[in-house]
């Protein structure tokens, strides 16, 4: 039998193994290479002897071409067996062929084992190198970390996910005053401080379970020696590569000093430097917070206190004494009245306030206010002087709902004003009715300027009758307001307001002009009647610099005889006229007008003083006159007093007018006492000028 064609055998061999393993060699190259191998096998088959090295090499060569899958060797044996057995048997070399194939397989197995071991060794070395490289990188980064960690000025602590401290640096140990070892035995959770924001602990829990990776807060720590430090704390989570939480790192910066400054600033912003009491800012903060209480029945109470006559103390004893007084009053109020839910604050000047965040009700508030008054009344020793001061308190109790701090304080201010105007050294409780009145008064006062423009004011005249002959000797001009909505308003409703607002100056000028104008009309109508025109002048008008000039102009313009004009001033207005106003009085008198004292007997009634004033008449106040009208008849004393007053007035060359004469009996008694003029219902109520005309006609 002819030996087989090597390239044919190699073709079958190629088919058998080409797809079995991952190799880089192409099919044609492979077939060529295998042809050589087949030739080598045939040579070996022909030969004799025990050297089967070439067969082993062929097996090994398969492995080095990366025919590493089992299918490659089985395919080889199958293909070569199939193609070469018949020929080998024919030349009686069947055994030798089997031996060659066995050696080839053995060579393949050895080489594969070698290769596998070599690759395994290589990969193990590689993994060790990788590990070493990782270690090295870690060591490098750790060395850097250690350097940063150990020498950092900032305190650093590392803990596990239960808060247990694993590592801390020198700075942190110094900051907290514990040794490194002491800290390593503790938990971050041991460092609770009463001022901790409760959020810190929940933030930490979130960090530990991986919900957040970072948070920052300010936190106080107790050091080992019990002192306190404030820190800015930043906590970060370190995660494993798969993202799961591993460690927490805390960076701690000592901000005690900043914190102290800040708290001091905050304290300064909220406290009054003189008395150390909470100031207005803090009061309003707390008040606003209390008013924000959403409970339905929540009420807030305020006692607003103002020292009486503090300005006088300051003026007479000096500011240092004033400050000292404020300090001791503040201290007493603080000790006696502040407490939980109660804030004693200084609002400024000599004003203090007690805030009751949950009002105990009006009665209790009033009691507290009275206690405050009692506290203030206790004598204060100042530089050897025993000083007694008093105060006035306004009390307000309001539902939190629907009340603003501004409203409440406005009410407190109003109430305090009531306490003052009701006579000081007392407590006033906010009263809605009174407040409503005040509001309507205010509204009225605001309407007055416009009402004056609109000529809503007019004058009524009340006859002044000569007690000798019962003939009207003059009239008192009385101002009225025909209010478009409220109807007719008497002077009691608006004059005081006008006095306060200052509008009295304009109104008074108008009254003077109108009265003078009416006088000139009467002159025209009754040429032989020479009436005295009496007009009221308020203290404010007297104090007004332009008064004399105004009056001069009015007299000139209306052609009024100054001697027929009488200006009425109340006793108290007159008493207040020192210095400049007294000069005004003289200048008025110099113009030739008469000056009368209105409501004589209600004030000081110092007749001796009157002798020095340029006045011409007295108007006896109602009570003098009404005393004559007692049911049991006038007492001897009443009559004697009256007689004495009239006598004295006459001695001072003053005419005497009796007011509020209501009965004929009074009139004749007064006539008997030599009183000059009288007015009152008995002689005629105030009315329009026509009424006077009518009266003249009757006479």
């Amino acid at each position: 039998m002819e030996p087989p064609n090597p390239s044919e055998v190699a073709g079958a061999w190629t088919d058998a193994i080409a797809e079995t393993s991952y190799v880089v060699i192409g099919r044609t190259a492979l077939a060529a290479r295998l042809t050589t191998r087949v030739e080598e096998i045939l040579t070996l088959l022909d030969a004799s002897g025990d050297d089967f090295g070439p067969a082993r090499s062929i097996g090994a060569a398969l492995v080095s071409s990366h025919f590493t899958e089992v299918g490659s060797v089985t395919g080889t044996l199958r293909a070569l067996g199939d193609r070469l057995t018949a020929y080998a048997e024919s030349v009686h070399k069947g055994d030798r062929l089997r031996r060659i194939l066995a050696e080839l397989a053995g060579g393949y197995a050895d080489a594969l084992r070698e290769r596998t071991l070599a690759e395994q060794e290589r990969i193990h070395i590689a993994s060790m190198q990788a590990r070493a490289a990782a270690e090295r990188a870690r060591w490098d980064s750790e060395a850097r970390f250690q350097a940063v960690f150990a020498d950092a000025a900032i305190g650093i602590g590392i803990g596990d996910l239960t808060g247990r401290i694993m590592e801390v640096n020198e700075s942190l140990s110094e900051m907290l005053g514990y040794s490194l070892d002491e800290l390593r035995q503790r938990s971050a959770l041991d460092f609770v401080h009463p001022s901790d924001d409760p959020a810190v602990w929940s933030d930490l829990a979130k960090l530990f379970n991986g919900e957040t990776s970072h948070f920052r807060t300010q936190k106080a720590y107790y050091r080992r020696d019990g002192t306190e430090i404030w820190t800015e704390l930043a906590v970060s989570l370190i995660r494993a590569q798969d993202g799961s939480p591993r460690f927490a790192v805390g960076m701690v910066q000592d901000i005690t000093e900043q914190h102290r400054l800040l708290t001091e600033l905050a304290y300064q912003a909220n406290h009054d430097p003189l008395t150390g009491l909470p100031n207005r800012t803090m009061f309003f903060e707390r008040l606003t917070a209390a008013l924000a209480d959403t409970r339905e029945d929540a009420r807030v109470g305020v006692c607003y206190l103002d020292l009486d006559g503090f300005k006088m103390i300051n003026d007479t004893l000096g500011h240092d004494a004033g400050d000292e007084l404020l300090r001791s009053v503040a201290e007493r109020l603080r000790v006696r009245l502040s407490g939980p839910g109660r804030l004693v604050a200084r609002m400024g000047g000599d004003e203090f306030v007690v805030l009751l965040e949950q009002s105990p009700g009006e009665t209790e508030l009033e009691r507290i206010a009275d206690e405050a008054l009692a506290v203030v009344r206790e004598p204060v020793i100042l530089g050897g002087h025993t000083l007694r001061v008093a105060a006035s308190v306004g009390v307000v109790d309001r539902a939190a709902a629907g009340t603003t701090a501004a409203e409440l304080m406005k009410a407190a201010d109003t109430t305090l004003y009531w306490a003052k105007s009701d006579g000081r050294d007392r407590t006033a409780v906010f009263d809605h009715h009174r407040h409503a009145q005040a509001v309507s008064r205010y509204r009225l006062s605001a309407q007055m300027p416009w009402a004056l423009d609109e000529e809503q004011f007019f004058l009524d005249y009340q006859p002044l009758v000569d007690l000798n002959d019962g003939v009207p000797a003059g009239v008192e001009a009385l101002v009225r307001w025909q209010h478009p909505e409220l109807g007719l308003l008497g002077p009691d409703r608006f004059v005081e307001m006008a006095e306060q607002s200052g509008l009295i100056v304009r109104l008074g000028r108008w009254v003077l002009r109108e009265a003078c104008a009416q006088a000139s009309r009467w002159r025209a109508e009754h040429p032989d009647w020479q009436p005295l025109i009496s007009v009221n002048l308020s203290p404010r008008q007297v104090a007004e610099p332009g008064l004399v000039a105004d009056l001069k102009r009015i007299l000139a313009e209306t052609g009024m005889d100054p001697g027929a004009l009488q200006l009425e001033l109340t006793e108290s207005a007159l008493m207040a006229t020192k210095g400049e106003p007294l000069a005004v009085l003289h200048r008025l008198a110099d113009l030739g007008v008469r000056i009368a004292i209105d409501d004589f007997g209600t004030g000081y009634s110092n007749l001796a003083y009157l002798s020095n004033l340029p006045i011409h008449a007295l108007k006896l106040a109602g009570p003098f006159v009404s005393a004559l009208r007692r049911p049991a008849g006038p007492s001897a004393a009443d009559i004697e007093i009256l007689a004495t007053v009239v006598r004295l007035a006459h001695t001072l060359k003053l005419t005497v007018t009796a007011e509020e004469v209501e009965t004929a009996a009074q009139a004749s008694l007064l006539a008997g006492l030599d009183c000059d003029l009288a007015q009152g219902w008995h002689f005629g109520a105030p009315g329009p000028p026509d009424r006077i005309n009518h009266l003249l006609l009757v006479n």
């Binding site: 991952y22 590689a126 590990r131 270690e135 750790e142 590569q241 591993r246």
Partner: protein
């Protein structure tokens, strides 16, 4: 401060590694028991994975030759794995001994292994890096020593982009890589796709979800989109065996069932 002492190491030999498992598919022994166990599970779901891997490697060789034919002599193989046989430098340097190759992988064992076997080849380098940070790779001294950025470079992203999920914006990543390349450079991609053998490859991919490298498979259109502004070379994005096969006539029917696509784009 980088990583403190208590932080875990990158190296985790107790879990299968994509690189070593892939070596096992290719008949290598650069792997450990964990890798082989995992590979066995994959093979159960998809017994033809070794053939698929071989086809993929064949594509790699064809691309390198095509690049060489275009005169490109610098290669960066991103996600290169564990070089067994038929590696980029072997193919490229056979055609042009001056060709330079940088292998990049983030598997520390793959890198150490590559360093060991390429020790004597001064036209190659292996660096351990994350391919999703190309700027860092191009800034590496070893890369700068071998690759001249002013001349055309071939970037190989072979069987690796399916390890980059959409959240990490692979299109932008490729755009960023291209922006670092000279005109005439190329980007080659092969990428698993669920369009064929859907059930098997789906199961196989599921197994990877539990590893450190979950798989995101993409459709042909999505793979085409990865090329962005690059000009696709003929024949475009096709099933991997169909990309410029050595002997077109010899393609079997399994080539049309191949569950991955491949293409090469050129930087303008």
């Amino acid at each position: 401060m980088e990583r403190p002492r208590w932080a875990p190491a990158d190296l985790d030999l107790d879990r299968p590694s994509v690189a070593r498992v892939y070596d096992y598919y290719l008949g290598g022994s650069h792997n450990f028991a964990v890798d082989r166990e995992f590979a066995q599970q994959v093979l159960q779901a998809m017994p033809n994975v070794p053939q698929l891997a071989r086809e993929n490697r064949a594509f790699l060789r064809r691309v390198v030759r095509a690049m060489s034919a275009l005169g490109v002599d610098q290669f960066i193989d991103l996600g290169s794995g564990i070089p067994t046989v038929g590696n980029v430098h072997e193919v490229a340097q056979e055609l042009d001994p001056k060709a330079r190759v940088v292998y990049v992988d983030w598997d520390p064992v793959a890198v150490a292994h590559g360093e060991a076997i390429l020790e004597d080849n001064d036209r190659t380098a292996v660096i351990g890096a994350d391919l999703r940070e190309p700027a860092a790779i191009f800034a590496d001294e070893r890369v700068k020593a071998l690759i001249d950025p002013s001349r055309p470079t071939a970037i190989l992203l072979i069987a690796v982009l399916h390890f980059v999920p959409d959240e990490l914006k692979p299109i932008e990543l490729i755009g960023q890589i291209s922006s670092l390349l000279a005109p005439g450079s190329h980007v080659a991609i092969s990428h698993a796709s669920p369009e064929r053998q859907a059930e098997q490859i789906g199961q196989a991919a599921n197994l990877y979800q539990k590893t450190a490298s979950p798989v995101t498979m993409r459709s042909q259109a999505e793979i085409e989109a990865l090329f962005g502004d690059l000009d696709l070379l003929e024949p475009g994005v096709v099933q991997t065996p169909l990309w410029r096969p050595d002997v077109p006539g010899e393609l079997g029917p399994e080539a049309y069932e191949y569950p991955a696509y491949a293409g090469v784009g050129r930087v303008r």
